[in-house]
């Protein structure tokens, strides 16, 4: 039990993610989290606005149930497995983030400057989170998948399109962190 309260090392985490992929395949389903966003849009009535959302969302209900589980998993990890502790990130990264204004680097799981309750009263903070979300949602559907569908499931099945998508993920991430962050933080 004590072991479960420690952060999971990469060599445990990676294989546990593959086991998630395997379990979903063995129950006859697919591994992909971002398609839930499309399903949720349809549930909320986006099917009245364009064809892309016209599909039987009930056929995707299983994935919404998985997502509900993921949410419960997050709750369990934080409440019972001391999962909300600060990751032991590289000390150079902590210093660099401190100079960018992220004083919470190295002391919390997420930057409080973006994920503390105060962010609800900061226009800049709200815009950063909202735009980040829009890019993730738009990009995931355009690319036909996200980290789970392409980087894990697609690459595990040796799909070239998934490799192109993952290269894209990294090009985008590097541009954001190295070229755009200095402009906004």
């Amino acid at each position: 039990m004590d072991l479960l309260k420690q952060p999971f090392p990469w060599y445990l985490s990676g294989p546990l993610i593959s086991i998630t992929l395997l379990l979903l395949i063995l129950v006859g389903k697919r591994f992909g989290m971002s398609s839930n966003l499309r399903t949720m849009c349809t549930v909320l009535g986006a099917d009245k606005t364009c064809d892309f959302f016209c599909f039987d969302w009930r056929a995707q209900r299983w994935n919404l149930v998985v997502t509900l589980g993921v949410l419960i998993g997050g709750f369990i990890a934080v409440t019972y497995l001391s999962g909300g502790n600060a990751p032991a990130i590289n000390i150079d990264v902590v210093k660099e983030l401190n100079t960018l204004g992220f004083k919470s680097a190295g002391t919390s799981y997420l930057p409080l400057e973006l994920f503390g309750e105060e962010v609800f009263s900061s226009v800049k903070g709200i815009l950063i989170l909202l735009i980040g979300g829009v890019l993730v949602g738009f990009g995931a559907r355009y690319a036909g998948g996200c980290t789970s569908g392409h980087a894990i499931a697609g690459l595990s099945n040796l799909q070239l399109p998934s490799l192109i998508a993952v290269i894209g993920f990294f090009i985008g991430g590097l541009i954001m962190v190295h070229l755009i962050f200095p402009l906004i933080f």
Partner: protein
Amino acid sequence: MKNSVYLLIGIFFGIVLLKSEAASWFRIYEMFHFKAFHMYGIIGSALVLGIVFIQLIKRYNIKTFGGAQISFVDKKKSIPRYLIGGIIFGLGWALAGACPGPMFVLLGAGFFPIIIVIIGAMLGTWCYGLLKNKLPH
């Protein structure tokens, strides 16, 4: 009955995502600075074992728990769709520090500002639906 299986798989995945720190904005930032092996180790080891699992399923024609045939559909060939879509996704992944799985993990973990990211992601998905036919695929 089936629903409880999906729920349990989700709970398992949610715990792994949070405890692995793959749902931490800081880990994503660190990854894009190449300052730690952690995230590369997670994705790399997940991939190696994932390839083994899928090869075994194909080679030994392993069936689902319900006895059904498992089929893998090849993704449609294209470059612009995956590259441009991927870059847009990557920009958001680095900015919000969360991809679609971790978004829901973090909501469950009580980091409520992530709701703004989730609303954004749904808006982004909706915008894609509206613009789909005008985009190169």
